[in-house]
Amino acid sequence: MNTINRSRRQFMKGAGALALGSMLPVSLVELAFAESSQNFSFAYISDAHIQHIKDNRFVRNWDRGLIRAVAETNLLVPKPDFVVFGGDLAQLGNKPELDHGAEIMSALQYKVHYVMGEHDYYLDLGEYWEKLFGPQYYSFDHKGVHFIVLNSILTYDEWTHNRWPTNEQRMLEMAMLDNPKGSPFMVGAEQLLWLKKDLSMIDNNTPIVVFSHSPLQKIFRGWNFWTEDAEQVQALLQSFNKVSVIYGHVHQVQYNQIGHISFNSVMATAWPWPYPPSYAHAEQYLPKLIVPMNRADPFFERDGTGWQLINLVNGNVDMEYLLYSNRGRSVRYHREANRPEDIDYPHETMRIPPQSHY
């Protein structure tokens, strides 16, 4: 019953090859659901890591990833209702990076909702980012769905304040993913209170979609694929019947189901990351549901990167990964199994070598 026209994927591949071709299909999405008011799509771009070199120079590779996502998103037909940027627009949170990233994003023809990433935050604790993009956490309603944006990359006050000689040093320490001197992400008491209050006004049958930068589940502490107070956030969300959490940070395909909460990750436009099990010396909890994405080939600069189109079908997330150098991936909510499922690689036997070799 969940019939989404796969030609959209073919179209996007063509669009990538043609770079802004003029022939656009009229109908890319076909949804057949009774509660059509809850069916709509939005695009998700994340983890651009715009990196300043000096003067007017930026790392070309990361620039290209974001520019391409923006250009392709503008080609979508029908138009998505809005775009979300999932955090880490900058690499080291400075003005040149945030300004340059904001300028690239300004080419989007849609309303954009921004999520805070640690690379945007730890230089000035989000001050300049707020000037450009607005509050660090907020909620909004759209076509019967309640959307919540959290700043999930906060950490212990002792780590953030009075610990590092300079703000630049603090940023560098948090920017290094595998830094033993780093600190786990968290939503924090203030936002938990706000979230509780925000949710208290929402009916239990209203679909809830939460955007955060870090996974609101614990996967691998060593690389901060982790939110320290994830259980507390989950507890506030579990009383709702349909909850989806969409997160960035991990630069790879992930999904999971915990109770009523579906989890979906989004890709980076900048570079892909290895899966936690590829590091042999630390405990990790990669959800068993996940069919890994292909191991990226570094000779193809955009391999393992991309952006995604999300169809909100009766309040559940159907995630279409539009990957620049790979076959796309579709992870859709399976209504009988009550969990997200990869539609192309459901069984181990159907996987291809780069999905299993690290």
Partner: protein
């Protein structure tokens, strides 16, 4: 026989004795030896980690660690292997140089550059215990 000649003969005798008794002990490492060698190795591993996270290794500020936390997805245990894009079988240091030249937009290192040794020491240390699979993709 002069005094000096006597001294030389005695020294020669002493060396002979050392050589004779020493040969039976040549492969008996002491704990102190092992610790010293491990310390030497780890000091190079640590230099490698410092280079791995150094935004100055290339020319554009990008560091190895950005894409390879804990040197993951470098799989040094699969080298030497055929690299399709290079058209030949290459040892891992050639791939390190490929990364320095391309994503890092920098200058390649000589094969025996101590920095290259350190980078390989760090990578392989992070993959310790993983079985060797040369040639594997």
């Amino acid at each position: 026989m002069s005094h000096d000649q006597k001294k030389t003969r005695l020294l020669g005798f002493a060396l002979l004795v050392l050589a004779a008794t020493g040969s039976s002990r040549a492969d008996e490492f002491t704990d102190a030896d092992l610790q010293r060698w491990q310390k030497q190795f780890m000091s190079v591993v640590n230099k490698g980690r410092a280079l791995w996270t150094d935004s100055g290794l290339g020319n554009n500020g990008v560091a190895c660690v950005q894409c390879h936390p804990n040197a993951a997805n470098t799989h040094p245990e699969t080298y030497p292997k055929f690299q399709q894009q290079l058209g030949k079988v290459v040892p891992v240091w050639e791939m390190i140089n490929w990364c320095i030249r391309n994503p890092l937009e920098g200058q390649p290192l000589a094969a025996d550059d101590p920095k290259m040794t350190a980078l390989q020491a760090y990578m392989t240390h992070e993959r310790r215990g993983v079985k060797l699979e040369p040639g594997k993709h």
